[in-house]
């Protein structure tokens, strides 16, 4: 077996990275090859030295500095929550003040100007023919109606013809036979 090839195996054998068959062949070679035995011993020593590096201690202050450096650079959610809570509280206070002022205005509303009551005068009589004008209620358009309203009560119209064709007397009477106009 080639010693160069065995050295590769010896390098891996130190960390148990060899298969069972390769380990057997390596052991057989090392039995009769002193240089490879020395090489294997050096690899084992080196493995032990490397493993010992793990136990080396670092000054604890270094770890503290690392942690502090990280914590300083990550967002502080506690601060965000505090800021959000303060913002919410400020908004509530502002809303309370606005509502209180609004309500205060509703308690004492500004004085309302009274509208003058308009009374329409009866139309003047023209000429000799007395004409009595009555207004019928204007019908509400269908689209504006919610429920069908009962038809408006029309006043009873009574016309009295006289001998004079130019004179007509008209009475408007409601359902109680109460005279509305003449």
């Amino acid at each position: 077996m080639n010693c160069d090839f065995v050295e590769r195996w010896a390098a891996l054998a130190a960390s148990n990275d060899l298969g069972e068959h390769e380990q057997t062949e390596l052991a057989a070679h090392l039995d009769h090859c002193e240089s490879c035995r020395d090489a294997a011993a050096e690899f084992s020593r080196m493995e032990a030295d490397l493993a010992a590096l793990k136990a080396e201690l670092v000054d604890p202050a270094v770890y503290v500095a690392i942690r502090q450096g990280v914590l300083d650079r990550i967002p502080n959610r506690t601060n965000w929550r505090m800021a959000a809570a303060l913002g919410l509280a400020a908004a509530l206070i502002l809303m309370t003040v606005v509502l209180w002022r609004d309500r205060h205005r509703q308690v004492a509303p500004p004085p309302v100007q009274p509208h003058p009551l308009r009374v329409s005068a009866p139309p003047p009589v023209q000429g000799d023919v007395p004409v009595i004008v009555g207004h019928l209620a204007k019908p509400v358009p269908a689209r504006h109606r919610g429920k069908p309203n009962p038809p408006p009560e029309r006043p009873l119209v009574v016309k009295l013809l006289t001998d004079d064709p130019d004179v007509v007397i008209i009475w408007l009477v409601d359902k109680d036979e109460k005279e509305i106009a003449r």
Binding site: A11, M46, K54, I66, V70, R73
Partner: protein, 193 residues
Amino acid sequence: MWELTLTTMSDKVVADDLILKAQAGDREAFDQLMRLHERRVLATALRLLNGNLADAQDAAQTVFLRLHKHLPGIRAGENLAGWLFRVTANVCLDELKRKSSLVPLDDGVNTIAASHADPERQFSDAERRAALLEGLSLLPAKERAAVVLRDIEGIDTEEVARILGSSPATVRSQLCSARSKLRVFISRVRRRS
């Protein structure tokens, strides 16, 4: 299972609890989580970055900031140590690429050996350790990463392959090459001392 995995059930429960609390924004829990993993993160970064403590500190901070950023995606029971090793290796290898500080081991052997030229001196344990670290820093980055994770941190080869994003066969090849180079380097230094 490699030794860095949290071994006892109670440790695992505590770690999962810390992850859940940290995910909910608990800074104290995140601080505890960092304490739990800081040694292996810093030690790995220190070895991968040629023993430069300032660079290793920066790398460790970057790793923990990435951990914080990715906290929502980490599930309880996940192998957080493996995730951290992977990120640490990536951060350090990126840093090495950025600095372009890779020196082939063969170039470094003669330079280092020249500084150990006193034949009267014994090759003490301290010198052997110094030579080992020197040789380690002169290895190609991928080989150094394999040695640091496998030989110093004691992670098994399959896990190292997962961390480095390669196959176990590749890692074995890298380990074999790196150990042979280290042995030759240390032998030369010893002969000249």
